[in-house]
Amino acid sequence: MRVITLLSRMIAFGLVLGLGVVSGEAQEVVVYSARSSQYGPELVFDAFTKKTGIQVKTFGGNTSELFERLKAEGDKTPADVLISVDAGNLWNAARAGLLSRVDSPEIVANIPAHLRDPENRWAGLTVRARTIMYNTKKVKPEELSTYDALGDPKWKGRLCLRTSSYIYNQSFVATMIKRQGEAKTEAIMKTWAANEPILINGDTKILESIAAGQCDVGVTNTYYLARIVAKDPAFAVAPFWANQQTTGTHINISGAGVTAHAKNRANAIKLIEFLTTPEAQQMFADHAFEYPANPQAAVNPVLAKWGKFKQDDINIAAAGEFQAAATRLADRAGYK
């Protein structure tokens, strides 16, 4: 029957493709990346290959699913490097034994301590600042101060937030727990919830809503605003650097670690070292509007206009350590 011949051909095609992935070449490094290759890494990897001759092969996917694949593949994994967004995810991968310790003086020198795993299993590559955004026509910066103060009743109905399911919010609450303790954090979250924030899924959407006047203030990552401002300098939203008098503005990272069963371990370390150099950091910063993790690299001109700010320098591993607690806390506080 025709159908059967067709099917068997298709199965053969499948097997060929399936078996084709087994072999590997010598000078390469395989990256599992939760960071879209379109937004920075592709360029940086090209530069790495040009410099070292080592081919970079990437496999993109969502962090939590990549974690499962890496775990299921165990010692057979082709992955040498795991790149992830959000420190909590890196912390979780390290906890599960998927990442291995790397003692590289170069990485230590390039990346500040609070952006690295205390046990050197992962390091931050870019810094993502999450701060208060306000409508420049309706809010004066003097009215703003800290994240905690967004719970002030004067912001009732004027606040736009992402849901607490959003990983960056979970990490935000997690570091707050580390800083202020669970009871205090829960009390703050309750005041946020009492302000009946308009929950909007998407940082860009929040910024658009602030500009359109649906709300007056919100909390988002700065690179979303930078993307908009780069095209539309008149966009009526500006960042306010929160907590400058206290703990500093909350930051998160995208970062990388070498897998526990890396076949090309030396190349993997070389790649991460390269990614932390000012040269590579510059490309990330220029392309994706994030802050370079290496303080020696210059920030994008769009960001430079917003001035320097004090980062919260608590070790970002706290984002993972307290993430589960943060999720539960948000549930209890009624912050959806």
Partner: protein, 555 residues
């Protein structure tokens, strides 16, 4: 005159020997059920503490939200899909031939992409409300689109094609004689529709609505975009937010209960009735030519649905896409992505349909509980969120890799990599697990309409079961089969979580490309691959529609 009756049993094989059909069906079901069992196995270590926490904080709210979403989506798709199919099959009006296939198109795009695009158009900051505020004052407020009403409407608009496609196939298969007979007995057209056409098509209509509801049940992307919290929210909160994948899987397995309830509902709606028609279907449908304002009303209705569900969001995407193209932010290897996407979809559609025919036909030949339960159980993957079932597929595959790999290594004396995990076979397997429900429901619904008298006649003339299937049934269920192929094909093209997790290394598809952009919220850039998915789906959809309508004209 066709009739819903109790009469007639399918000619069964002698009980002494075990039929190869049953063996095949049970075998397929067992294979497909492995990932579902992997999901269920999470129940062996209950995460009591997490359940208690969820119960205290949100479980009731989320469950209620899910139930009312399902009710809204079920009722909405049923009404809209049936009405449109009725219009298109039994009437003639301007633009009908184009609308007939165009009305399927909303299905070709990932629901969350349509959702996001619509949201971009209609939310507070979107162009529509902005223009209205400009015209009527800044204080103007429309009802919030991020709400139960908004998300339900959205899902009805995206999922009605399930009902539409199945209803269309059913109405076509009924032919014109049914309706004409009722009319000749003095019934008005509307009464004939309500009393004859509709009841005869019931299995198909309910199957379509059940698919739409299962889709809504498993959905996370669309509801999250709309900020509407359903049960899947709890699953991902626990998985992503608390790093508790096993507990999350446990939560997900409760969705299987929902799905099971839906299937029972679907079965019981058929009851003990049979929905068969006589051996000769008689003449093809004779669409009633509509004239004057009625004709234009029909055109306008179909066009309005198409505009809201498809043209507007696609227009928004096109607008974004042009911007992305101008900025040169479009993938360089588009042809490869397209070829990969199409070949995967074709493989998955073929496999899911062959499996469905075997399962459905085995159920027809041997309507025993075992065969039926096997089919039902195997098709439950559809009610699980994509990434949950993807991990359910991943774990057994990796297990095979490690087990068989160790064996191979001993034989070959050299290390062996992964050969099932991340192979096309593993991925197609995942698609089949996820979408078997779609093909099975569709094929089963159309097979049910064929009178067992035909089987008996063919068998009494000496034909074997396989021969009867090939020479009698397959030609008769052509429409249903085409529908099943289209549905699985389109579903596969837009499927994202399993594709991301299980695809071979370096093997990217259009939906991976969509992910590459949406994961960084680069929606403008995601527009191009999203539109390519729609474009790539177009040709097969049109071909399949042609193929399925040919029989109503030719013979």
């Amino acid at each position: 005159m066709p009739q819903a009756s109790d009469a007639g049993r399918v000619f069964t094989a002698r009980p002494a020997s075990v039929s190869p059909w049953v063996v095949g069906a049970v075998g397929i079901a067992a294979l497909v059920a492995i990932p579902i069992l992997a999901v269920l196995s999470s129940l062996t270590s209950p995460a009591v503490e997490i359940w208690v926490h969820l119960w205290r904080t949100q479980l009731v709210e989320l469950t209620w939200n899910t139930v009312r979403l399902l009710a809204g989506v079920g009722a909405g798709t049923l009404v809209l899909g049936t009405a449109l199919a009725w219009l298109v099959v039994h009437h003639r009006f301007p633009g009908r031939t184009v609308l007939e296939w165009a009305l399927i198109l909303p299905l070709a795009m990932p629901a969350y992409v349509i959702g996001f695009a619509s949201l971009g158009l209609f939310d507070f900051a979107g162009p529509v409300q902005t223009a209205l505020r400009r015209a009527f004052g800044e204080s103007l407020r429309l009802p919030e689109i991020r709400s139960y009403g908004g998300v339900t409407l959205m899902m009805v608009l995206v999922y009605y094609p399930y009902v539409y496609l199945l209803a269309r196939a059913a109405f076509r298969a009924q032919g014109g004689a049914t309706l004409e007979t009722a009319r000749s007995l003095g019934r008005s057209r509307v009464v004939a529709f309500l009393r004859v056409t509709l009841p005869l098509a019931r299995p198909s209509l309910v199957a379509g609505a059940a698919l739409a509801m299962m889709e809504a049940l498993a959905d996370f992307g669309t509801v999250a975009t709309f900020g509407y919290r359903t049960y899947t929210e709890a699953i991902y909160r626990v998985w992503y937010g608390m790093f508790e994948r096993v507990a999350a899987t446990q939560l997900a397995s409760v969705l299987l209960l929902f799905a099971f309830a839906l299937m029972l509902l679907e079965r019981s709606s058929r009851g003990r009735q049979r929905f068969t028609q006589g051996m000769r279907r008689g003449p093809a449908t004779m669409p009633l030519p509509l004239a004057g304002w009625r004709a234009w009303m029909a055109t306008a209705t179909c066009a309005a649905v198409l505009t809201l569900a498809f043209l507007l969001p696609v227009g928004q995407l096109a607008w974004w896409g042009i911007e992305a193209v101008r900025e040169g932010r479009v993938s360089r290897d588009f042809p490869v992505l397209l070829a990969n996407t199409l070949s995967l979809a074709a493989l998955a559609a073929a496999a899911a349909c062959v499996f469905a025919v075997v399962l459905a036909y085995a159920g027809r030949l041997h309507p025993t509980r075992a065969v039926q339960v096997a089919g039902q159980f195997a098709s439950m993957g559809y009610a699980l969120p994509g990434s949950v079932i993807a991990v359910g597929v991943l774990l057994p595959l990796a297990w095979v890799d490690h087990g068989a790999g160790a064996l191979l290594e001993r034989v070959l004396g050299r290390p062996v990599g992964l050969f099932v995990t991340g192979s096309v076979i593993g991925l197609v397997g995942a698609y089949v697990v996820r979408f078997l429900a779609v093909s099975l429901q569709t094929v089963d619904a159309s097979l049910t309409r064929i009178s067992p008298i035909l089987d008996d006649a063919a068998r009494s003339l000496g034909a074997r079961a396989g021969g009867v299937l090939r020479r009698v049934h397959v030609p008769m269920i052509r429409g249903g089969l085409a529908t099943a192929l289209i549905l699985v094909f389109v579903e596969t093209m837009k499927e994202m979580p399993a594709t991301l997790l299980l695809r071979p290394f370096g093997f990217n598809t259009l939906s991976v490309e969509v992910w590459e952009r949406t994961s960084e919220a680069l929606w403008h850039e995601a527009a191009v691959p999203a539109l390519a998915i729609v474009g790539a789906g177009l040709l097969p959809v049109i071909l399949a529609i042609r193929w399925s309508t040919r029989d109503t004209r030719g013979r």
